[in-house]
């Protein structure tokens, strides 16, 4: 009996000591440690629909700048997650590199020199009249900034990933792209004519639709509760051969000359958030 009571008392003491230790340990924790960083925060994007007319231009394009305008439609499922699409119609402008090369090229075709004529060079370059993407967007960072200690504005950083699409266009007329069977021998009567080994008169094969990978990152700078400046760097990566001539040195143009290329764009837009009224967090 004595032993039983002593044992019982010891168990109770140990139990109590353990409970007390847990309680003390829990109380030592900072009660704010698991709290949100900002309370009563304006939910500037959550459950809002974003419409953003935008301007976009390539960054450091090799042969042709792509400059255009379009629209971004995005729905913010939560404060951090959203889905959206973007479409941009564009015009193409020759880069400084093209402007430097073209005047030095021959004005008419001379197969002996193996260099393209001005027309051949230009007609093989492709343009991108339309491109866009469907994406998932993550907004992990939000905050506010003070500019010149006067203007206090909210902002957020976002990152996007999805599927890119592009419509490519090249227009090499038959009078320029005369080789109907690039890289292949042809028969003329009883004679076999070997390939001409001249990629400059081959069809460029760099037009049509492309699907690829889309990556983006940007910033919203909120001018008020429903208007935001939207600055983004976007990468539309897909298979392309911008120069439209031989890349793999097999002396003719084929689909093998296309490779997975990154097309970097900078975009600036004005986002309109709907509904225009915002809610606040607790």
């Amino acid at each position: 009996m004595r032993t039983y009571q002593t044992l019982l008392a010891s168990l109770v003491v140990l139990s109590v000591a353990g409970t007390a230790h847990e309680a003390a340990a829990e109380r030592r924790q900072n009660s704010l440690a698991k709290d949100v960083a900002v309370r009563h925060r304006k939910l500037l994007v959550k459950n809002r629909f974003e419409i953003a007319p935008l301007f976009e231009s390539t960054i450091n394009a090799d042969f042709r700048h792509v400059v255009g305008g379009g629209i971004k439609l995005e729905y913010h499922i939560s404060d951090k997650l959203s889905i959206g699409v973007i479409g941009v119609a564009s015009a193409s402008l020759n880069t400084g590199l093209v402007d430097k090369i073209v005047p030095t090229l021959e004005t008419s075709t001379n197969n002996a020199t193996r260099e393209p004529s001005q027309t051949e060079f230009l007609d093989h370059l492709n343009s991108m009249p339309f491109h866009g993407a469907a994406y998932l967007s993550l907004t992990p960072w939000y905050g506010k900034l003070a500019a010149f200690s006067q203007a206090y504005v909210a902002f957020d950083f976002y990152f996007q990933a999805g599927v890119a699409f592009a419509q490519l266009k090249s227009d090499c007329p038959p009078t320029v792209c005369t080789d109907k069977t690039p890289g292949q021998s042809t028969m003329s009567g009883m004679d076999t004519i070997p390939p001409d080994d001249n990629p400059n008169n081959d069809a460029p094969l760099n037009d049509g639709s492309r699907l690829g990978l889309y990556l983006g990152g940007g910033i919203h700078v909120f001018l008020n509760d429903f208007l935001a400046l939207d600055l983004t760097v976007r990468d539309y990566a897909f298979s392309d051969n911008p120069s439209g001539v031989d890349y793999n040195a097999d002396r003719f143009v084929s689909q093998d000359d296309s490779r997975f290329l990154h097309h970097l764009f900078f975009g600036a837009g004005l986002s309109v958030m709907l509904p225009t009224k915002v809610k606040r967090t607790q």
Partner: protein, 351 residues
């Protein structure tokens, strides 16, 4: 039987004391209901904690959340964790207690202040203190001060706008902050380069050898201005402070012609390089920051002449004399880690 009963009584007493101690220590874990806004919590007999004092004050902790501590100065007395004047006398701040707030009516506040001043005037010399809401500072102080500190910023960079050659740089900048937003500094860069895809493509496809220069080094005297600072939350939990800055400066550098034909020697150019740029700085600690920036180095460079043979521009001096010139914008993206000296700082004004 009697001794046995005595032992049982002692055991019961011991257990009772232990349970009381457990209850006392474990009270904060259970937590009282969150404080209702604007209304003092009502005591529920012994379960409602008394105003904290005993354990909380004795432990030297400051419990910001009344919900966790259960401490309510106006709560009814309870057995709990030991009452006391700890809360009221210990200087705790009730963040959400509307009834404890100062009057929100500025007129009433001023009237009360006038009454206090009048009472003070009867007792001694009058000291008139203007009182206004404008006197109340509501913007928290900057978490990082730069004034009279030196920034040592080693960085690496890459060129952004050259199709043919990509230049990589390693460099450093030493800046001294005259104020919290203005600094003067010196920087130095050492460059290496690689050829981009178009360099090879132009040669193979258009049968043209590109004329390109490489950069060897550069240095500049820079002025920094910091007009923008802010903070952001990462995944709604961690706050990070940052600022944006502009840089402008003047310096010098050297470029070197990469000969199209290695039979002929290249030559170097001395460049006067003004530069402008902008960047962002993220504060990681009082003595270290992470920097990103874009810098545009503007200069007039000289390139290898188009016509070069054994009879024309064969020597480096001849080639340099007949070099083609062009205005160049070398835009570099730079990333670096800044170390700040002294490694700490003190605020000169109250919070």
């Amino acid at each position: 039987m009697k001794p046995l009963r005595m032992r049982a009584s002692k055991s019961l007493l011991f257990v009772t004391l232990a349970l009381m101690a457990s209850t006392a220590l474990a009270a904060p874990k259970k937590g009282a209901p969150p404080p209702s806004k604007g209304t003092p919590s009502k005591g529920k007999g012994g379960s409602t904690p008394a105003p904290a004092g005993g354990s909380g004050a004795a432990g030297g902790e400051v419990e910001m959340d009344g919900g966790d501590s259960g401490a309510k100065p106006k709560a009814g007395g309870g057995a709990g964790s030991g009452a006391g004047g700890g809360s009221a006398g210990g200087g705790e701040i009730e963040m959400d207690d509307e009834q404890n707030k100062a009057p929100t009516d500025l007129a009433a506040d001023l009237a009360a202040s006038d009454a206090q001043q009048a009472a003070a005037a009867k007792q001694g010399p009058t000291v008139k203190t203007p009182l206004s809401w404008k006197d109340i500072v509501v913007v928290i102080r900057k978490p990082f001060l730069k004034v009279r500190r030196t920034e040592l910023n080693p960085f690496v960079g890459t060129s952004m706008n050259d199709n043919m050659v990509r230049s990589y740089s390693m460099g450093g900048e030493l800046a001294y902050y005259l104020t919290d937003v203005l600094a003067i500094g010196i920087e130095g860069n050492y460059y290496q380069h690689v050829f981009n895809e178009p360099f090879d493509l132009v040669a193979r496809q258009a049968r043209r050898l590109p004329t390109v220069n490489q950069y060897n080094w550069s240095g500049a005297l820079d002025f920094h201005y910091v007009p923008v600072y802010g903070k952001f939350a990462v995944l709604d939990h961690r706050l990070i402070t940052w600022e944006a800055f502009f840089v402008a400066g003047i310096g010098a550098g050297q470029s070197e012609v990469i000969p199209r034909d290695t039979k002929f020697p290249g030559f170097t150019n001395f460049l006067i390089q003004p530069n402008v740029g902008a960047g962002m700085r993220f504060f990681l600690a009082k003595w270290v920051t992470l920097n990103f920036g874009i810098r545009d180095y503007v200069f007039y460079d000289h390139f290898e002449p188009v016509d070069r043979s054994t009879t024309m521009n064969a020597s480096a001096a001849d080639a340099a004399a007949h070099a083609d010139g062009a205005l160049i914008n070398n835009i570099m993206f730079q990333i670096g880690v800044s170390f700040w000296l002294p490694t700490s700082f003190e605020y000169t004004t109250f919070r």
